[in-house]
Each structure stands twice: as C-alpha cells, then as structure tokens.
Symmetry: C2
Subunit: 352 residues, 2 copies
DNA sequence: TTGAAAGCGCTAACAT
DNA sequence: ATGTTAGCGCTTTCAA
C-alpha cells in the first residue's frame, strides 16, 4: 500500500474553516438574507427563479444552517427529549424505535438521555435537556425526584411518562399497569394448579416496575391463600447465565418449588435452559413464566411463557401525543393511555 | 380512589409560563446579569456573598439556563453527535455505553442519531446534527455518501469513524479490521480440519463490515485452495429463529457441509440450537462459528465459537479522542486505533 | 470583584 | 415577492 492513498481528507484543510452563515449565501447569491432564510425553510412566497438561485449557491458553498441561532430567534426547537434508564436492557431500544418511527415523518427529532436507573442522574440529565428547550419530553416511569417533577411541571412543555401507569403522572402517561400484569400472571399460574411459587428478579428498589409486578403478583396469590415460597434477587444487567445461577440457587434452597416467576425474559430463558439441561420436566415438574415478550424467546427449544408488554407501541403512542401537542396548541394535555399486556402461554405454563 | 388524588400537576399551571431568563434572576437577586452568568458557570471571580445570593435565588425561582442562547453567544456546544445504523442490533447500544461512560466524566454529552443502515438517511441525520454545531462526531463505518464525507470534512469538527478500519477515514478511526477478522476465523476453521464450509449472513450491500469479513474469509480459504460451498442470506433484524430457518435451509440444500460461519452471534446461536434439536453432533459432524462476542452466548447449553469485537472499548476510545481534541486544541487529528479481535474457541469449533 | 455594551446567526414583524 | 429592522438570551470584551 502506497502512502499517498491513505492521506486523510483533513490534510487539505488549512484553517478550521469558519462555518458559513446565511450572510455568505446571501452575498454569493445576491439575494437578501431574509429571502435566503425563507428559501431554506420553505416559508413564504419566493419566486422560482430566486429559489433555485439560492438553493444552488447554498449547495455549492456547502452551507449548513445554524439551528442554534434559528432556535433562539424563532423560539422553536424541533427536539424531543427522551430519558430512559438504560440502553443495555433491550426493552428501551424497542421503545426508542417506536418513537423514531413516528417522529421520522415529522419535523421533530428525538434526543436520548440515559440515567442508569439513578434518580439523581435522571435529574441531571433532565436539567441538561430542558436547558435546550425541547418541544416535548418522554421519560420512563412515574417515579422521579421532587426536583425533577418540579422542573417538568414548570417547563411548560408536553411531558409523557411511559412504561408504567400505576401512579400520578405529571402530564400524560402511556404504558401498562404492572400491578395488573403481576396479578394476571398470578391468576394464570394458580389456574394451572401450581402452588409452590418462587420469584426471581432484580433488587426491587432499583426497578419500580418489577416491584409493582411483584406486588400485584403476591396480592393476587394472597387472595387465594397462596404465598410466595422463596425469592432470589440480583444486581446489574440481565443475562442467560445469571438466570441459570439464580435458578440453581433458589431450587437448591427450596426444592419443593413447582413454579418460577421471573421478572424478565432474559433471566427466565436462562433458567429454562438450565432446567432443561438438568432434565427437569417443564412444565410438569416445574412451570415457568417471565415478562416482556422479547423475540429472543422465539428460537429457544421450547417457548417460555411471558407477557408481551407492547414496548414498540408504547413508544409510538407517546411520540404521537407529543406530535399532536406540537401541531395543535389546543390538543389535550394529561392524556392517559393504558395498554393491555397479553399473556403468551407458551410451553412452560400450562400443565399438559 | 377519589378524584382529587389524580388531578395532574399541570392543572395548577395557568399560562404556559414564559421560561425564566438570566434577567429574572438578576432582578430578583439585585445582581447584574453578567455576574449571575458568572456564578452559574463558575467562571471568573465572584465574592462568596454574591455567589450564594445568586445561587439561592436561581434555585428558588427554578431557573433553567437557556443553552441555546449560551451556545450562540459562546460558540460552544457541549454535544457529541453519534450516528449509528440501528438500536435493535445489540452491538450499538454497547458502543453507546462505552461512549457515555467516558463522556459522563466530562462536560460533553452524546446525542444519538439512527440511520437504519441507509446512507441517504445517514446524510440527512448528519446534516441535521451538524446544524447544531456539535463539538465532535462519532459515526459508524467508513462508507458514506459523497455529500456526507464532504460535510464531515468541511465541518471543522473532530470526526471519529468507528467499528471498521478497512478504508480511508475522514479524520480519526477506531475499530477492528473486519477483513482480518474474517481471515483469522478462516484459518482457525481450516486448522481444525473442516473443508466443506457454508456462510450465513445479512444481504451484503446493507452491511459493509459483514461483507469485509466475508471477503477476508474467502480470501484466506482460497489461499488454501478451499471455497465456500454454499451461502444463505437474510434481510431485516437478526433473531434466533431466523438463524434456525437459515441453517435448516442451507443444510437441506447442501448436506455435505461440515462447517457453518455466521455473520453474527444471534443467528449463530439460533443455528446452534437448531442443530442440537436435530441431534447433530457439534462440532464433530458440523462445526460452528459466529461473530461479536455478545454475552447472550454465555448461558446457552454449549458455547458457540465467536470473535469478540470489543465494542464497548471502541466506544470508549472514540469518545476519548473527541474529548482530547476538545480539551486541547493541539491534540492530534487523524488518529488511527485498530483493536485486535479475539477468537473465542468455545465448544463448536475445535474437533475433539 | 462587578458592570455596560456589543453581538453571536438567525427569524418575526413589519415595510415596500 | 423581497427587503429592513429589531431582537431572541446569553457571553465576550472591555471598562470601572
């Protein structure tokens, strides 16, 4: 390989070029700044002749508008702030995809912030994002610091809290009731005759939605006089191997268990694979269920029972609310959209 | 539940409040705007007395600075644009995590754009992001439209292209050589005595890195007089079930195959599970290998051979380059960081 | 240590 | 259909 083939393009650039301004385009095209601005934004009447002239020079020069100046002058920012706990948990990328798919057909653009499940970090990220004056905010969960709630309420911006509907939203909310999800799963499990039930999930304080599912779950069991026999918790990200280890531990401790309820599909699938390796009869000897409905489960040897939480749909609906508020000043605030999660029985819940 | 418990906070807000300005804080505290600004940015000398007074009133009023105005005035934007093809492919969230982890300890903030693997969409997203005048750009791959490359070069902003080092970067690059990764995997496979080799992956034009791995792969095979016997391609996202189907199809067509090389772990794992279900002897009858090193593989019944691509590390290194350029004007441009991917032999490559 | 004036690059509002 | 003027809310620069 000869050297000259590898010379980076930047070599050609002498001084870090001052970015071009409207004025540059205006001068180069002989059209006023204002008209150039109109052309570039497709606003107001401009003759085809000048329009083309401007467009040509702008492209030729490689002009990139300065949205910062534009936003300051127009008091409009086409950004939607999206604040989520994590990117490693597949759930959130799915929500983001729903949001993007809706916003893609609009002038709005999403901007993502990640909190790592820390309320204080959420507060910081929120402050940071609000200081860019976005057109809307979508954030996960209903639990926030006092300061965060105050900022949201004071912002005067449409806010949509997503994922969870069990609580009081600041403005609009789109999600499912995790309490109800837990209750319904409990009822199914009892219906199929399981009675020695174990729960495996994240350490609760970190994860309000898992906690609510657990609360709904135990509540529905209690109604039938059943109690959760044993529980197993973990920290950090979910993985198949974590599911294996936890399952091994809980059954070691409580071999009488005939059902395991996992707080997400990843650890549930790990547990399932582990039990299969051990030759445990599923769902005869031990039944299994999890939560999320990720398509990871589709290719496993048997299908784990789970609950489809409609994350993509949640993203879409949230974005639609922001969009509506943006296009129409009078669109209603304080919307409430509760989706109905669907139990997928699979092969691990219903005794043959 | 009584009604008054559910009244949204927004009910209390009469007029969408005009956001507070520095002037408001200035008037409320009796300190000049300029000094308030200094306090809020921790710049210049301010007496402790005034500092506290300002901080107190700012907090009391709930002042949120307007970064738009700040950015315009100071010509500084603490945003790093990150442009990636997809969020559904676990690979990219991992890169983002690496980037965030580095930037978290700095004033910089990443902003993510998604291209859906479409060069024209990349161009649009890039234009959009450049118009916010970010402090740096990180984007996946070395293949971009002419216009995109022109914009990048003209932007005068530090640019880091990531994931792939096979090609000519605009400025800096951090990644691995996918050609080399393909070659090395081919050599391993031959070393273990496989000769009837099949390839399964995405449709090439969509995925330059998979294509380069394939090129390196076939090149290394050719050196030993071996050719790929059959290939199977797919569209859309990866999933275990897709891996199963593809594997079924290719073996149906070419039952003589004794090795399958997958372009990613997800479809590789699907194929592996499928073959296990069929009672195929792995790696005796058929050997398997994939690419990525996702921890999904850790909990499967046997460990699929793969190549760890160091995505988290790639994210970190890219962010560090941007950071360095930002803190020190004289930091070198045109950096080149090629990481060495590691083959993980697992249980599916080495014949016993 | 503090303040006053000017202006960042654009767009709203009002001419023409 | 096009141009002119006056800011948007901050920070830079200079003065006190």
């Amino acid at each position: 390989m000869s050297d000259d083939k590898v010379v980076p393009l930047t070599k050609d650039i002498k001084t870090p070029p001052r970015p071009l301004t409207l004025r540059d385009v205006s001068e180069a095209s002989g059209v006023s700044e204002m008209t150039v601005s109109r052309v570039l934004r497709n606003r107001g009447d401009v003759s085809d002749a000048t329009r083309e002239k401007v467009l040509k020079t702008a492209k030729q020069l490689g002009y990139v508008p300065n949205k910062i100046a534009g936003a300051l002058a127009s008091n409009r920012v086409n950004l939607v702030a999206v604040i989520i706990p994590s990117l490693s948990n597949m759930v959130f990328p799915e929500v983001l995809t729903g949001i993007s798919d809706v916003l893609d057909a609009s002038p709005l653009q999403s901007v993502v912030g990640v909190t790592n499940y820390k309320p204080e970090k959420e507060e910081t990220v929120l402050f940071e994002m609000l200081s860019w004056r976005p057109s809307g905010i979508i954030l996960a969960g209903l639990e926030h610091t006092e300061a965060s709630r105050a900022m949201l309420a004071a912002s005067g911006i449409p806010v949509v809290e997503i994922m969870d509907t069990d609580g009081n939203p600041v403005d609009s909310v789109v999600g499912i009731s995790h309490r109800r999800a837990g209750r319904e799963m409990a009822r199914q499990i009892l219906r199929y005759g399981y009675e020695q039930i174990g729960f495996l999930g994240t350490k609760m304080p970190m994860d309000h939605r898992a906690r609510k599912r657990f609360e709904g779950f135990t509540e529905a069991l209690a109604k039938k006089g059943v109690e959760v026999v044993d529980q197993e918790f973990y920290d950090g990200g979910s993985s198949l191997s974590k599911g294996r280890e936890m399952t091994d531990r809980i059954l070691e401790r409580s071999p009488e268990l005939d059902f395991l309820y996992y707080s997400n599909d990843m650890i549930g699938a790990g547990g399932m694979l582990h039990l299969m390796d051990q030759g445990v009869d599923i769902p005869g000897q031990v039944g299994l269920a999890a939560f999320n409905g990720t398509d990871l489960l589709d290719g496993l040897p048997i299908k784990l029972a789970t609950m489809e939480a409609g994350r993509y749909e949640i993203g879409r609906r949230a974005a639609e609310i922001i969009l509506a508020r943006n296009e129409d000043e009078t669109a209603p605030a304080g919307q409430r959209v509760e989706l109905t999660p669907q139990i997928e029985i699979g092969d691990t819940l219903k005794r043959p």
